[in-house]
């Protein structure tokens, strides 16, 4: 299992899974604390219309146009949600529900209307990706990790996801203080001159970037699950924000590895022939971790009073 076959078949998808999970889990911590956990849900639904429109405009199924389309769609969704919330005085949950369902419906309709039979573009792919297919054919064992020629044959999702993760990590590190301050006490943050509106929007944009990059590799399910489950489980393990983020990264990595391994090898161990969906299994494992944290986590109960108004 750890030999050449592993490097060819399992190492790249596993790494991509890990990078995607962590890139979503980090901003997820702040979304969770800001009661915006479901923004991730909304974003991952509107990815579909984004990629369909990108395909209709460019006529090709290529990574960059699709990611741009998905990114644009998530910005449109966030703007619409804000507009409906403010202009219509509608609570955020309902505003979100209106926007992402309508946009998703539009995406499905466009997909049905356009001729995509020749290209690999369908709802299922957007939902659960195809992690298992991201293999590294040029690899000849662990030594290939040092072989430039072989490295060039890596699935392009891997460097892209690594870059996204690096981007998310650096931004979180640089803006840690303003993020923490404005998440805890927005009013006070404003009086110190922080642009709290821009910080909030920036967080959502970073989340959208992580979601869009991750969806391309692993599908939307992992994205929603990783935004919420690892941070939520981490919240019940500690009372410090730094430690919470660290726990969430750990849980995200664990979900990705265990989920991938269980999906790929679990059925074989049970005597079945075919592997099951890795994306689905990673989400499932993250749920099991959350359940364990909810039952055994040392800090699973609330300690302070809730804010009086949202």
């Amino acid at each position: 299992m750890m030999g050449e076959e592993f490097v060819v078949l399992s190492l790249p998808p596993m790494l991509i899974g890990i990078f995607a999970a962590v890139a979503c889990a980090i901003p997820g911590n702040f979304l969770l604390l800001r009661r915006q956990a479901l923004i991730g849900d909304a974003i991952s639904h509107v990815v579909l219309p984004g990629i369909v429109v990108a395909f209709l405009l460019t006529g090709v199924v290529a990574a960059w146009p699709m990611m741009l389309g998905a990114g644009a769609a998530s910005l449109v969704a966030v703007a619409l949600i804000e507009a409906i919330r403010r202009l219509g005085g509608i609570e955020p949950g309902a505003a979100m529900g209106v926007v992402f369902t309508a946009m998703f419906a539009g995406g499905v309709l466009l997909l049905e209307q356009s001729d995509t039979s020749s290209v690999h573009l369908d709802v299922e792919h957007a939902l659960y990706g195809n992690l298992e297919s991201l293999i590294w054919l040029d690899a000849r064992g662990w030594g290939s990790l040092l072989d430039m020629a072989a490295l060039r044959g890596l699935p392009p999702e891997l460097p892209r996801m690594a870059l996204t993760l690096a981007f998310v990590t650096v931004l979180t590190w640089v803006f840690w203080r303003p993020l923490k301050l404005s998440t805890f006490d927005e009013g006070f943050a404003r009086t110190t001159g922080l642009p709290v509106g821009a910080i909030g929007l920036g967080l959502v944009v970073v989340a959208a970037i992580a979601a869009v990059a991750a969806f391309d590799a692993v599908g939307s399910i992992i994205v929603i699950a990783m935004f919420i489950c690892p941070p939520a489980a981490a919240r019940m393990m500690t009372n410090g924000l730094e430690a919470q983020v660290a726990w969430s990264v750990l849980f995200a990595v664990l979900s990705a590895i265990l989920g991938y391994v269980l999906a790929g090898y679990g059925p074989l161990w049970l005597g079945f022939d075919d592997a099951v969906s890795a994306a689905g299994m990673i989400a499932t494992v993250s749920g099991v971790i959350l359940a364990l944290a909810a039952v055994f986590g040392p800090y699973r109960h609330r300690s302070g009073a809730r804010a009086e108004h949202a």
Binding site: F188, T191, E308
Partner: protein, 262 residues
Amino acid sequence: MELVTPETGTEDRALLEASPLAVRGLTVSYGEKPAVFSVDATFQPGVMTAIVGPNGAGKSTMLKAALGIVTPLSGRVTAWGAPLDKMRDRIAYVPQRASVDWDFPTRVLDVVMMGQYRQLGLLGRVRTEHMRTALHCLERVGMDGFADRQIGQLSGGQQQRVFLARALAQDADLYLLDEPFAGVDAATETAIISVLKALRDQGRTVVAVHHDLSTVPDYFDRVFVINTSKVAEGPVSEAFTRTNLQEAYGGRLAAAQMGALG
């Protein structure tokens, strides 16, 4: 929002430049009814001013609008005659306790150090002197020994003291407090007022939204009476009168509170 314009009377300009916080024509509305209507206020330097008025009279709203936390419908705000944004370094703010989620994963010392954000910036290293300052601020409010406590474990009074310590860490010239004595124990109230008086004695300015009329004469030098629009502004001896309070509170002015007027 240009502030001190050529049309501003020279008299008013002098007033504005001396005042750590002044508002002119401030109107704030949450719907179709102004919560604060056309208020002029000129807070005086080096004294303690209470903003009083009945519930829902716009006390907190006025403070939040002056600080830019809520957007006013009209009006202008100056700090020492300059735009507020240029003076943020000199202003400390203590919000209402209930405005934040105390289940937030952080400890007391971290909250106090949030007051040093403008000095630390994005990536400035936290040095021993920052820690020492923060610990000293906790000491001043009688919360030394709580530095490592999770904030969710604090009582209401302790939460209020931590917020005050954070404002002290801002090392400002103007302290704005929103209901600092609401729902706190007697010991906390004493601790807070002595800190505030010490600040005043160092020449700093304190403005607090206050709801307990009986303590106004003991705690404050000046008073600003508001009920949607301004009712009175001045030294306690002149502005804190039965007539003004009657106008602001109407029938809601309980006999017991009138007792405070002597």
